[in-house]
Each structure stands twice: as C-alpha cells, then as structure tokens.
Amino acid sequence: MNRVFTTPMDASSPPTIDSEALGFDRGAHLLVKHALAGVAVGSTLRVVSKAPGFRAHVVAWCRSQGHGVSFDEAGRALIVRGGYQTGRWRGAERSGRSDPRSPDAVAEQAKASWGLAARGSTVEAGGPEWDFALDRKHEVWADEAVDLYRQALAAQWDPETAADWNAPFELPDEVEDAVVQVMTYLIENENAALLVPARFLGRIHPHYREIMQLLAIQVADEARHVDVFTRRARLKGREPALSTVGGQLSLKTLVDEPDFSVAAFLLSVLGEGTFVNLLNFLHVHAPDPVTRRIARLAARDEARHVAFGMAHLSRRLNSEPELRARLANAIELRHDTLSAGGAGLNEEVFDALVLLAAGEWTPAAIAAGFERVQALQSEMAEGRRLRLCRLGFDEPEAERLASLHTRNFM
C-alpha cells in the first residue's frame, strides 16, 4: 500500500495530499480520488498543488463529481467528499462467478440487465435490458464445454501449412472431377455448419461464456474447412462443380431450425456425426494425399462438434425427458419435408464417391468402390443409431430414426 497522505490525520487539520506540479490535465484527479476514498463522506481533504491552472480545474472536477470545494488562505483546495461515488453501486448485483465449477457460478437464468458484463462482475443497476433469447442454462449448457473449448484451442491448425499443397500427384481427369464434385458438396455443407452456430451465437446470453466461446471456435473450425475444401477443389485449376436443389433444401431445414437444442441435435448429433464417417472414408479412400490429409483434419474438428451436441443433449434430456419426443418429431418432420421436396444426396456426389473409392474405370474397381460406399452408408446409419441410443432412445426407435436421416448426410 502506497502512502496517500502527506500529513497524518488528526483533530486539528484535515488529511492533506500534495499533488506537486501534477495538474488535472495530467492525471492529478487519480491522486485526489485515491485520497478521497480514505475520507468519510462529508469530511474534508486538503490538496496542495503547484500545477498551473489547478484552481480552475479542481473546481470543475469537483463540480462534475459532486464534491464541494473551497480554498484556504494559502490557496490549498479543501475538498468535501460528496456521497455520489458510493450511490452508483447501491443495488448493484454480482452476476454469478467466473469459475464455472464454483457453486452458483452459472445462473439458471441470466438476467437481461447483466448484458455483456463479465460473469462474476458486479453490475450497476439501471443499465440497458439486453435481449438475449437464449438466457436459460438448460437451453444451451454442457459442463463439457470448458474442456472441449480447450481441446479446440489446442487443435487449431493453419490451412496454409497443415497440408502439403505442393505434394506431387496427378489423377485421371474423371477422378479429379469426382474429387472436385465431392469438395463442392463439402463446402456447401460446411457453409451450413458454420451458419447454424453463428446464428445462435448472437442470441446466447454472454453469461454462458463457455458455450459462446465454444460455438465461436466451432464457427472458426468451419471457416477453415470451407477454406481447405475450396483450395482442394481449385488445386488443379478447376472451378467448383455442381450444387443441387436437393442438397440445399436439406441444408435449409437445418439453417432454419429455430430451437438451439433441436438444431444441435439435427446438425451435430446426426449431421456432423454422419460427416465424421464421410470424412474418415475420404481419409482412407481418397485418391490423393491432399484430400486424405484435409479430410482427416476436418474429421477431428467435427468429432468435437459432435461431442458438444451429445453433451448438451444428454444434460438437457436428463432433466427434461419429454424433449426426446420433440427431437424424434424433428427428425420425422425433416424427413417428411425432404421426401416431399425430393431432397437428398445428389447423384453426382454419390457417383463421385464411388469413383473416388474405385480410383479407376474398371468393372472390378467400380464394384469395389460401390461396396465401400455402401459400407460407408451402413456405418453412418449405425453411428446415428448408437448416438441415439446413448441419448436414451430405445433400440427400435433409435434404429427407425437413424434410417430417417437425410440422404444428404448432413
């Protein structure tokens, strides 16, 4: 603790500070404020100053702060402390605790008036009422978010250096075309996977900091995926290939989903979960080292997104089992909407996957590629079924719902 007063407090003279030649135009108010904090409201602080303009400035400053001021015969300012500094913090409220593990750290409902305040800070009363639609813990929370965020930070990679873009390889034209078609499809899907969390991000109360951070990094993950898939599509001088109505219709149902938990279920648990299988498939069967590498990098990120979706839904279903019926309805509704609209995996993407896995135009190779894609599809369905079971759906229901998933994969 530094010494504030130059003279001790006694009955005969008020506490005094000497701000020497430091003027109010150079920060003298800090010294005065600091000293006033040690003086009772209504009591006097004496300020000695040699700064030019001191008298005019100390008067203006005291007026603005609600302190009284006069001068003694020696020209020293006698500041009578006003009560307004403490008044500001009357009725202020602490907004939880910063460490999510401490008791009562994270509120079941975040107050609109806490707004952007750091969780754990003391919030002045009377501030603006913020309109964060997702302001209840059960709507967004997962305890695992803290760890997933840390993992995500540690696992960030730079598209520039994470793959060897100059690796020498040449594919037959048709196989290269197939890779470009698959990349085109992946970009479209990653655009959806970027936009869905991004749209919720602006609606989540910042009190739920860990969720906000995790979704932000999820958005950044998807931005990198869009980046690397675009680079791969263009690597041999081609433009991206075909985008179908069916594919976009399927993705639009995801982007349009207004409920956070339902969207997390459809996008992360089902869509990105399925995508992990697809990316792993590409990691194994893609015909060139660049595609194999970027598929692997993207698959790792997607696996974290799935983990968050699973953690959030497990938590919410635990306290709210009736949500299960809503989730099942959401799958069915999406299935009905998509069947009516003819949405699904486009033929070009399916054929491209077969060709990728085949690697050449021989009946034997095509047969092998076809088999691999079929195996992929059953792996995907099995993965969905297992995740649904883990979320507490019974076996037959999990199997049925897993099979209703969009043919577009995401």
Binding site: G23, G53, R55, A56, V59, R63, G66, G87, G126
Partner: protein, 284 residues
C-alpha cells in the same frame, strides 16, 4: 384527467429527446402529468413563456436574463425554481498556448482571440466582458474570431468551444475562451495536449441553467414538479442515467444571484435591451 405540466426545452442535440422522455416517465410514475415541447432556439422558447404555451422552461442563463427582462417590461414575474448542482459557480477561462509569450492581458493586444457561438454566455459574452473589464475591446485591441455553432442554442452545443480549442492548437488563433469544465475535458480527451495550454485568465463565478416558471403558471402543478425534481436521487438506478445525461448529481432550488455577470455582459455588448428585445444585429 389532471392538468398536464408543460415544459419547454431547446433541442440542441438528439439526446434532449431521450432526457425528457425519461423525465416524462419519471414524473408519470409519481402521478404528475408532464409533457414537453421542444424549441429549436431559446428566443422562441422564452417568447412562448409569455404566450401561455408552456408552464416552465429549461432555460439557459441568457434565456433567463431575457425572460426576466421581458417579465419586468410586462409588469409580470418569472421565477427560477430549480437548477442542477453543476449550474452553480461556473467560470470561464481564457486559454493560450504554453510558451506563446502571452503572460498578461496586455499581451493580447493585436492578437486573435477565439470565442464560441455568438449567443454563448460562457464562451463569448462573459469572456468579452472580462476582457473589456481589463481594458480590451474586440475590434479595437484584438481581433475576435467566432466559432459559431448552432446560433439560438446559447452555446449549449460545445462544438464552438471545441473548434476554438482546435484552432488554438493549430496556431490559427492566439487565445480561446471556454468554460472551465470544457478546458478540463478537452485536455483529458487529448483535444488539447496536456500541458500544451495555459490559463491566462479566469472569470468570476456565474450560474448556468435554471427552470424558469412562466407568468401565470399553475402554482400547484409547478410546486409538485419542483418537489419531484428535488427528490430525484442519484442513488435511484432508474433516475441516475437521466441525471448523468443531463449532467448533474442533484437538483437544487433555483437561485438568481449568479446572473449579474451575464447581465452586465448583455448590457455592455447590447445583446438584449432592458425590455428583453434582441439588439444583436448579427444574431440569428
């Protein structure tokens, strides 16, 4: 429906609407029907006080001087019922660049001094009076350069003072006039470099705005208005943002002892006549 207290205010900035809408809600919650009328300038507002259009006016000090003169000329009375704690005992400063060699009033001879709006008590009328008292007349002893912003607003908009301060730092003028708190604010915000200016002179203290009651306004309504105003507390989180916007910590009863300096400036510079008629030729 109870009678509504009508208050006039001058719209010198968009925040004026926020402020008085907030006050309207504050009064309504306490059972006082209150509404406000915005004027684009103080002259129109003061005239409205004598046409029965408004019961009270949130007046600049210059508007108070005029209202008081107009009332006297008509054989009626106006009164100042409330003011901000920050309206009392202000002073204006004449500021020069540090090291410019201007150490006394005499050094201002032949120089250019920057002022605020033509109708600004703090940045024009009172500093001119101060210079005149020290033997310096604009046009004769020094060149007056005005930084006009929004005439009719009586200097409420600080743009003129800021422009003068900027012109001072650029060396376009030799001195600039501003209210004490603006000199502090400009140096704090870096508009004026810290230590780059020095205060050549400080005027005597004067008071600023007040709520002026129009002749014949309903006493009970006005009393209730004043009572609620004085009860407004900085500790009340609903009222505090309004008080911050209006720049006060506490409303105080009105007093009229702090306007003599401005009265003298108005007479000397021929801004209004004794009956409150506008004399200033270049004022619009």
């Amino acid at each position: 429906m109870p009678e509504t207290l009508l208050m006039g205010a001058v719209a010198y900035a968009p925040k004026v609407v926020t402020i008085w809408e907030g006050f309207k809600a504050y009064f309504a919650e306490r059972g006082l029907a209150f509404d406000y009328v915005l004027y684009s300038n103080y002259e129109r507002q003061v005239e409205a006080q004598f046409e029965g259009a408004i019961h009270v006016a949130w007046n600049s000090p210059l508007a108070w001087v005029r209202a008081e003169r107009m009332a006297r000329a008509r054989g009626v009375a106006v009164s100042a019922v409330a003011m901000r704690d920050t309206d009392r005992d202000l002073s204006s400063l004449i500021v020069v660049r540090a090291g410019a060699g201007i150490e006394s009033f005499a050094d201002l001879r032949g120089r250019t001094v920057g002022f605020g709006a033509v109708d600004s008590p703090q940045a024009t009328l009172i500093p001119l009076e101060h210079l005149s008292r020290h033997g310096l007349q604009a046009g004769r002893d020094f060149t007056a350069r005005r930084f006009d912003q929004l005439g009719g607003k009586h200097g409420d908009h600080i743009g003129g003072e800021r422009d003068a301060a900027l012109a001072l730092t650029r060396g376009e003028i030799d001195a600039a006039c501003m209210i004490d708190s603006n000199h502090l604010a400009f140096t704090t915000e870096g508009i004026l470099p810290a230590g780059g200016t020095r205060i050549l002179a400080q005027t005597d203290a004067y008071d600023h705005c007040n709520f002026t009651v129009s002749p014949g306004a309903p006493t009970e309504l006005v009393d209730r208005f004043v009572e609620l105003l004085l009860a407004m507390s900085w500790d009340d989180p609903a009222a505090r943002p309004l008080m911050e916007l209006e720049g006060l910590k506490q409303w105080l009863p009105g007093r009229t002892t702090g306007y003599a300096l401005l009265e003298r400036a108005v007479d000397e510079q021929g801004f209004y006549d004794a009956d409150g008629r506008i004399l200033a030729a270049d004022y619009r």
